[in-house]
Amino acid sequence: MTQSAAPWLVLLLSVLGTYVWRAMGVVFSARIQPDSAFFQWISCVSYAMVAGLIARMTILPIGALAETPLIDRLGAMALGFAVFFAFKRRILPAAGVGVAAFCLMAYLREAGLPSL
């Protein structure tokens, strides 16, 4: 994306693409049951897509994360999960510990720790 207009076009269409679902909810709210098989399917599609994106961002990152070693990303993720399950499934402390570990590793790498 080199042209400066392109991100705005992407944003505008992305906003509309999301708003379509909200507006359809307003229009059809009196006529459609929200617990139908169709919605179970669409929520499966949605979950699978976002899980795929998250896995891709962790394993094959494109931007700034691409300069970090895979072992750091997986290790910090695993530590976050360990804290999550050890401390009553609370997201914030788990995310905090995972990010802190990741920052520490990034700092140590910068300071000259050799890649494993």
């Binding site: 679902w21 669409i42 949605s46 897509m49 910090a76």
Partner: protein, 236 residues
């Protein structure tokens, strides 16, 4: 109780409810998003516009990441839209509660733009005790606080990324996948868990096949497979 005092108490209740845990989580997760936008060379205005306009982090992430991967416009927009498809059933559930006694139904269209998981869940929880007008007041107040916290988080993440040392910036960007992975770990239900697992396995593979359409294909293939498997297993 006078109507005025009742409204004030209700607004206060919505503000306090939204300013606690929901706002902290939103601020934290949107900090990661703002940071990602900065690292992806998008402007602050685009970052804030995505938070307020898309107002659903999965779609926001898809927009930035697919743009970064150089995907086609149509592929980006379809992925963003599908990633936020949950707003359709969510709107179907809450609209009958919000429209009670509303004479100008057109107000529902701006109102539904403010909907996200937190105000939605809080309003459903309180709806039984409230009239139609009170529900709308509660919902809009709650949602406004959430949007404010999210915009503040986005701006903070964006600006901090320019100012913080590199390791901290990388940590903020890493917050994006970590936060969602943890959020997903707290979800239940056979079809949901299957969809998440299959999606996580298939996603990176299909990205290698096609950076443009890999994400859409992941959703359709893994999602449909999870849906069918869960249905088959669910039957006696």
């Amino acid at each position: 109780m006078a109507a005025e005092g009742g409204d004030k108490a209700l607004v206060r209740k919505a503000v306090i409810g939204a300013a606690g845990f929901p706002s902290i989580v939103l601020f934290a997760s949107m900090t990661g998003f703002g940071s990602l936008c900065r690292a992806s060379d998008l402007s602050l205005a685009i970052a804030l516009g995505a938070t307020a306009g898309i107002w659903g982090l999965p779609g926001q992430l898809a927009m930035v990441e697919l743009q970064l991967a150089g995907s086609e416009l149509i592929a980006i927009v379809m992925a963003v839209s599908l990633a936020n498809a949950r707003f359709f059933p969510m709107a179907l559930v809450i609209l009958p509660l919000l429209r009670v006694g509303l004479t100008r139904k057109l107000w529902l269209f701006p109102m539904v733009q403010m909907m996200s998981l937190n105000p939605w869940a809080a309003t459903l929880r309180e709806a039984g005790r409230l009239s139609g007008r009170e529900r709308r007041l509660y919902f809009v107040t709650f949602a406004a606080v959430c949007v404010t916290a999210a915009l503040a988080g986005t701006a903070f993440g964006y600006l901090a990324t320019g100012a913080l040392p590199r390791p901290l910036t990388l940590g903020l960007i890493f917050l994006n996948p970590l936060f969602f992975a943890l959020l997903f770990a707290s979800l239940e239900g056979r079809s949901t868990v299957l969809a998440l697992l299959l999606g996580a396995v298939v996603g990176p593979l299909l990205h290698l096949v096609s950076p443009d359409w890999g994400l859409m294909a992941t959703g359709l293939l893994a999602g449909t497979a999870a849906f069918l498997l869960a249905r088959r297993r669910g039957r006696p």
